[in-house]
């Protein structure tokens, strides 16, 4: 009997790569795909894997491994592909000999992303075939199939997954690893050097291989037609397939495993048989537009939402409008009338005192991407701009120039960036900030160095190796100093008063001042010290501690006191002591060790 396991989509992708004889896997961590490379560590004897410093580098390491003859996988979240788009667009011109797969995690509904871009568009743009799995078994199978087709057609391929597939679990049949070794690297500029005149012929190479794959799509086994005898045909892929099956199991459906290029000939033939073709897909009308481009009459987006996830109830609604389903069985998702609960900085998070200081300082703060992006949420509402990773450095420079020109040259401006983001794409931003200024402009950059990529679950950064004592020191401070910055201060933000003075003073100085905060991530380094408690007889109920938004804090009624006083849930407090330091009357003290 074959062995089965329950795996998430992400775990299945790693497993598929292992079974396919994969050699090198690289990534930059980003929800929803983080777990792929984390799982890959289980196969470290066979597969080299790394979280690279950013997606561009991850792709480039992957390109090298692939050119060198190893089956290669590179994973990232959807916006990560934007970061590696430059090498990607040229790389896909190469006729590759070893299988290459780019995994991109799209996020319909933006569960944890800044936008909802549909990377099928980028896949087509880069001339890559695209696979779109519907559950964990598909995810594993498509990795193996995708790598096979990659080699057969000498093309890099894309596995497009969505958050739902990444995190859903279902049973997966496990297979054995089949070792796989491609040819050794043989220098051949026409294959590997993307410069005219070599690139001219590759325009034809790319076109031809997509055409061949379009032909092959017609009998590709992962494109499955299920016939139930209906007069309409639904074409779909991904999670939409199963959500559709939930509400409408008895309609003919063409489940696409490869969504680009499409089995155009087959669908053309089918369209003669059916009264209507209905496309169900999340986000952009990608399949729909492809069909229409080829003159195939179909309906789609006008009946289904252009944004968010297409849950069963959304699909049902569209099918009722289309007359495929007579009446609705599912009620609309009820309106949430319970108090909202947004994310917040963890208990003991080293970002908390910094944002408390910035809020009180009432300065213009430019944000970046990481846990500290939550500084834009209530009750902080400190960040005034937030675009993409590493962008704080460019934005702060441009805005400084604008402020100065508008007569606001006395107003401070502060940027925040984490160490993960610093290494990801902050380095060129720092370099650019340094040169081309007069040296008179007042800019303060705070590097929130918590020694980890915290938002995605604590993957290492250049600084973590230092923290973890792995002997590979790469210090943010040394790097910035080498760039020519001299106004640099290291600050312990758990020493609240000193940190406050350092930050506020820096915002008043001319030139670029850099503050590096040094406390590590409470979650990644599992920090837990003796909790603090409130003495209600001293507490004046002023809520200064409450304003720090630390999760264990709340106001409550104590027996014998009329007014509500602050309290600390000992189950949640990790003992950072920031609340005690902001308390104006000394009502918060560390608990006596109870033994």
């Amino acid at each position: 009997m074959s062995k089965k396991e329950i795996l998430s989509g992400n775990q299945s992708i790693a497993r598929g790569f292992y079974e396919a004889g994969g050699g090198v896997a690289t990534a930059y961590p980003g929800s929803p795909t983080v777990e792929v490379i984390e799982t890959m560590k289980e196969y470290h004897e066979d597969i080299y894997s790394e979280f690279s410093m950013n997606e561009k580098v991850a792709l480039e390491v992957g390109i090298g491994a692939c050119y060198g003859g190893l089956r290669t996988m590179v994973t990232m979240k959807h916006v990560g592909v934007n970061i590696c788009m430059d090498p990607l667009m040229s790389f896909t011109q190469s006729p590759v000999d070893a299988g290459f797969m780019l995994v991109t995690g799209d996020d319909p509904g933006m569960a944890s992303s800044q936008n909802e871009q549909d990377n099928r568009i980028l896949g087509k743009f880069a001339n890559m075939p695209i696979f779109d799995p519907s559950d964990s078994q598909d995810a594993k199978d498509f990795v193996i199939k995708g790598l096979e087709l990659s080699e057969e057609y000498k093309t890099p391929v894309m596995l497009r997954i969505t958050s739902r597939i990444c995190h859903a679990r279902s049973t997966v049949e496990l297979g054995e690893r089949e070792e796989h070794m491609g040819p050794k690297f043989e220098p051949d500029p026409s294959k590997y050097c993307m410069l005219p005149p070599h690139t001219f012929k590759h325009q034809y190479t790319m076109k031809e291989r997509i055409e061949k794959l379009q032909e092959r799509a017609n009998d590709l086994e992962i494109n499955k037609l299920e016939e139930k005898g209906s007069d309409v045909l639904v074409i779909t892929s991904g999670i939409c397939y199963y959500n559709f099956k939930e509400v409408c199991p008895d309609v003919d459906v063409f489940k696409l495993g490869m969504v680009y290029p499409l089995p155009i000939d087959k669908i053309k033939k089918l369209s003669e048989k059916y009264s209507k073709i209905i496309v169900i897909e999340e986000m952009m009308p990608f399949i729909e537009n492809e069909l229409k481009l080829h003159g195939i009459d179909c309906v789609g987006k006008e009946f289904f939402s252009f944004t968010g996830e297409l849950h069963s109830e959304v699909i049902e609604e569209g099918l009722v409008k289309l007359g495929v389903i007579k009446e609705r069985q599912l009620k609309d998702t009820s309106k949430d009338d319970t108090t909202a609960r947004g994310p917040l900085f963890c208990a003991g998070c080293p970002h908390r005192p910094v944002f408390d200081i910035l809020k009180k300082a009432k300065v213009n703060v430019i944000g970046d991407i990481g846990c500290y992006t939550m500084g834009l949420l209530y009750p902080w509402e400190v960040l005034n701009a937030n675009i993409s990773m590493g962008s704080s450095l460019g934005i702060i420079k441009g805005m400084r120039l604008a402020m100065d020109k508008q007569g606001d040259d006395q107003k401070p401006i502060v940027g925040v960036i984490g160490d993960g983001t610093f290494f990801h794409s902050g380095l060129p931003g720092f370099a650019n900030l340094k040169y081309q200024l007069t040296g008179e402009e007042n800019i303060t950059m705070i590097v929130l160095d918590n020694a980890t990529t915290a938002m995605t679950g604590g993957q290492p950064t250049g600084e973590s190796y230092h923290m973890d004592n792995m002997g590979q020191d790469m210090s943010v401070e040394d790097i910035i100093r080498t760039m020519g910055y001299d106004d640099i201060q290291r600050v312990d933000q758990f020493n609240y008063k000193e940190a406050k003075k350092a930050i506020v003073d820096a915002t008043k100085r001319k030139g670029v001042s850099v503050i590096i905060t040094t406390r590590p991530c409470a979650l990644r380094y599992k920090i837990k010290e003796t909790p603090f408690e409130v003495d209600p007889s001293i507490c004046i109920g002023c809520k200064t501690c409450i304003k720090t938004n630390c999760p264990p804090l709340r106001m409550k009624k104590y027996e014998g006191f009329d007014k509500e006083k602050s309290s600390i849930d000992p189950n949640q407090c990790v003992g950072c002591g920031i609340c005690a330091q902001v308390c104006p009357v000394g009502a918060i003290k560390r608990k006596k060790e109870s033994k």
Partner: protein, 194 residues
């Protein structure tokens, strides 16, 4: 066989993903088809998180359709309340932790923490088990075991999974040094639910 639909709701960091895994594994060990769905990412930082498990003969989507929840596992009181309208009328069970974690809006005095949780859950659930599972876990020696006490209570209402498969799944899923604690937590949960 009709599918059993379970929703887990709580706050980031409470161990929902782990619990989802244990239920899925127990279902699989019992020969059932199973699909789960976790919402993770940004919400792990103290935000609302939820997941679903569907088990039975054949499961298509990992998502539970609205109004079709058989069992609601509320890891935190307010989060249990949030999903009450998703419950199947009359036949459903809500197992909700009385333990409170205050959302920012309540902490900052902008909104009140709901005082009608028990009453509201009773309106929608066929049966309600409303206990401070966190306190029970603290008494056992580790507040982190609250999810397994809840799971024990849940196990009583999943007829298709025998008790020993639950235990087998827990043993497979938790670190060895916590096995005994978790077995105790599970047994306590079963007792509370009966």
């Amino acid at each position: 066989m009709v599918n059993t639909n379970i929703i887990l709701a709580g706050v980031g960091g409470q161990g929902l993903v782990m619990t989802t895994k244990i239920i899925a594994e127990a279902a699989y060990l019992s020969g059932l088809d199973v699909k789960t769905n976790d919402v993770v990412g940004l919400s792990q930082r103290g935000g609302k998180v939820w997941g679903s498990v569907r088990l039975g003969e054949k499961v298509f989507s990992p998502n539970v359709r609205p109004g079709e929840v058989d069992i609601l596992l509320g890891f935190e009181a307010l989060e249990g309340r949030r999903f009450r309208k998703e419950l199947k009328k009359d036949s459903s069970v809500a197992i909700v932790n009385k333990y409170q974690m205050v959302p920012t809006l309540v902490q900052q005095g902008k909104e009140e923490y709901a005082t009608d949780i028990e009453e509201e859950l009773n309106k929608y659930a066929g049966k309600l088990i409303y206990e401070d599972f966190t306190q029970k876990a603290v008494e056992l020696g580790n507040k982190a075991a609250a999810n397994i006490v809840l799971l024990g209570a849940c196990s009583v209402y999943v007829k298709d999974i025998p008790e020993e498969k639950w235990v087998e799944s827990i043993v497979k899923s938790v670190p060895p040094k916590f096995v005994e604690l978790n077995k105790e937590a599970f047994a306590l949960g079963r007792k509370l639910a009966k």
